[in-house]
Symmetry: C2
Subunit: 440 residues, 2 copies
């Protein structure tokens, strides 16, 4: 206790930090996600938190606010670290990883990657400056089988179900359908139309129609067809007939519709509503070329996407003379987790992983017995805190209660007496054998 000035530290905006009881839930989520990815045979990859700036900028992602590093005591003549930036996603580092280790990997290469990423943006609801992404991607030489277009959303669906997230929909579309449709319509620059229709969320049908007509110069018939396509939804392959019914034809459109039908057919066993073909989804990034995904909470349609991804061509093209297309999806762990926490929907539990607290009795022999019993229970797989000093039983019980430890163990106070366990919820106290006791 000194008189020096103390300054209570404050949270840094956009850099989330959790209390132990919340972190315990986040750990459970991470375990579920990892197990979900591994159940399908995806291996773990981690990359450094930094990449050279030219790697981060290779796809011209200048819209991302990258954090660069600088040493505090940097020599003016040595600015080598200034060419390093914290990664802003896990796809760009993964493409670099593939190129760098190409000869040591087995293709199709299937990996998951769960890491923090950083963006130097202004923090707001659902947007953080440091957050955890959970990515799953498949990259192959020349061609990624369509198989994965259905397998990836199935994996993500399984994981989100196991996490018991509130109602969501994974919206799926295919960029070939959009591009092929616009080609069939006789549009000159289909990509520009895609980028414009992608703004439906923000500026609505009238805003998009105006841009298509005024800025891109589409005819009224073309604008009408674009708007009509974007309005189509469907939970099964009948949506393909709806698109065909619009009367537009092109080879690319047919290819895209076949792919979309394959995805919908393959996932027809998923619960109704969890997967939806939504012909308005485009995903802003220009690098997507086929199937695209975008997951949303049903009850918070304005909240950012909770998972997303798609098929892309050759992200590693600047590093290696191989054609390496891929497909990937990403779960926005922090975004989902923080939302549920804010909504009070996260069932937070104890502040300790312990199964039980071992009371530490007075007396050298009794204390040794307690320590030995704790050791035995640990070897049997239980998580056991040994209380740190002999103390009033009430104080030890209160410690366990405050931490949410469900059981307290009383070692025998004299020879011939039995061990006893108290259930802190029911208050019941019964004899127990450390060789066989299981947490009920």
């Amino acid at each position: 206790m000194t008189d020096q000035q103390v300054v209570r530290p404050a949270a840094i905006s956009g850099f989330p930090e959790w209390l132990p009881e919340v972190r315990l839930v986040e750990q459970h989520w991470l375990d579920v996600i990892r197990a979900g990815f591994e159940r399908y045979g995806f291996c773990s990859v981690e990359t450094p938190s930094v990449e050279p700036l030219d790697v981060l900028m290779a796809k011209g992602e200048t819209s991302q606010e990258v954090y660069t590093l600088r040493r505090l005591q940097e020599d003016q003549n040595d600015t080598s670290d200034a060419k390093l930036g914290l990664h802003f996603d896990l796809t760009v580092p993964f493409a670099r990883y593939i190129a760098q280790h190409f000869n040591d990997l087995v293709f199709p290469f299937k990996r998951y990657q769960i890491q923090r990423v950083w963006r130097g943006e202004r923090a707001q609801e659902g947007r953080f400056r440091e957050f955890t992404q959970c990515d799953i991607d498949v990259i192959n030489v020349d061609h990624v089988p369509l198989h994965f277009d259905a397998e990836l959303p199935r994996i993500i669906h399984e994981i989100m179900s196991e996490l018991r997230l509130p109602a969501w929909t994974i919206n799926v579309n295919n960029r070939k359908v959009l591009q092929g449709f616009y080609q069939g319509l006789g549009v000159d620059d289909p990509l520009e139309v895609i980028r414009t229709v992608d703004k439906l969320d923000k500026i609505g049908v009238s805003g998009v129609s105006e841009l298509l007509s005024q800025k891109i110069g589409l005819t009224d018939r073309q604008v009408g067809a674009c708007v009509e396509l974007a309005s189509l939804r469907g939970t099964d392959a009948s949506v393909v007939e709806d698109v065909t019914g619009l009367g537009i034809r092109s080879e690319l459109l047919s290819e895209g519709l076949d792919e979309l039908a394959f995805v919908l057919d393959s996932l027809s066993d998923l619960p109704t509503g969890s997967l939806l073909a939504d012909l308005s989804i485009a995903r802003g990034l220009d690098y997507y070329t086929g199937t695209v995904y975008e997951g949303k909470f049903t009850d918070w349609p304005g909240y950012g996407s909770i998972c997303s991804g798609g098929r892309y061509e050759n992200l590693a093209g600047s590093y290696i003379r191989r054609n390496l297309p891929g497909i990937g999806m990403s779960i926005g762990l922090t975004r989902i987790f923080a939302k549920l926490l804010a909504e009070g929907l996260l069932p937070t539990g104890p502040a300790s992983p312990s199964d039980l607290l071992m009371v530490l009795p007075e007396g050298r022999e009794q204390a040794a017995e307690a320590a030995a019993t704790a050791g035995l229970l640990r070897r049997r797989g239980l998580k056991v805190e040994l209380y740190h000093q002999p103390d009033k039983v009430g104080k030890q019980v209160r410690y366990a209660s405050r931490k949410g430890i469900p059981y307290i163990w009383f070692p025998p106070l004299s020879e011939g007496r039995e061990h006893e366990v108290k259930d802190l919820v029911s208050g019941e106290q019964t004899a127990a054998d450390p060789e066989t006791w299981q947490r009920p």
Copy 2:
């Protein structure tokens, strides 16, 4: 395949990155470490990767090369992010965490923290710019029971044993013994003597003796006693008698010797050689006040410490008007892992977590049967890759072999036939029931 220039990316020095088969081992290590910490009831905490610079500098750790952040497209007038730095250890963020969340935590607060840390130093053997630390600390109001001085090295010992590390010793000492001894000797500035004796490793007995005599002005008798104390080693409490035998007395020395004896007594069940009282160990950091630890590989004494820690006073003192002493230990995961990898001592296994590869047969019905069987096996807890397309069996076997997947599953090709599993090591192929099959 384009003619554009391609630049194969290179590793960034000091930022380690592993191939999947190595990462799988690292994951296993992380699982073992986490389980070891949780087995004793320590809860997980993670903090942001960054702290305000004044937090990082609070302990005057100017010798650490801190990385600060800067936004690539930073507004000259907004340099708010420049006041953030990547943490260089996990103790400083933990002290800040304790102060910030003081009212929401249960004390003694026992946490573990496994995260990456960053140091802007030149990379060399055992020193990285980005690496993973595994910390375990206890912080309490006013007083941390001596109990933890023995519990922490026991936990670390258990974990390092389970990881089957090559022979190591955890050296233990007590700063009170050193300081009390020097006080008893009549030395004016015991801390300066501690800092000097700490250089024994680097400059040897003669170098240290010269400094003690020339720079600090100790008498020959004092220098002799300091050197003699530093030469003492012992695996049990008899080392305390050796210190007492040197004939120096002080209250602080007695207190320190009692604490050291407690630690040695409490851990007397550990295998001989794994714990050693070493009276030369001081740990450079000024904030240690009692028990200190430093683990080393037996066969590589010159390699950096593989685990370390100690007791400290009130690291959170600049944030909160409470006396919050603590004790902690840290496993240098990356340092240990990279050394074993370099020495060829890391038994790396498969490049995939999969238990088995499910062959995908030709034919819609057969393929559906394969997918359904894969789903059933996954629900039973197995990790199953479904091959991504119908292909020659030989090719599917080769894929599994190259990834180190131990079993291949052949679904029946026609009704009434049986499922079969091939063990890729023995080559044996037998009938199998997907409802009951277990990996042998």
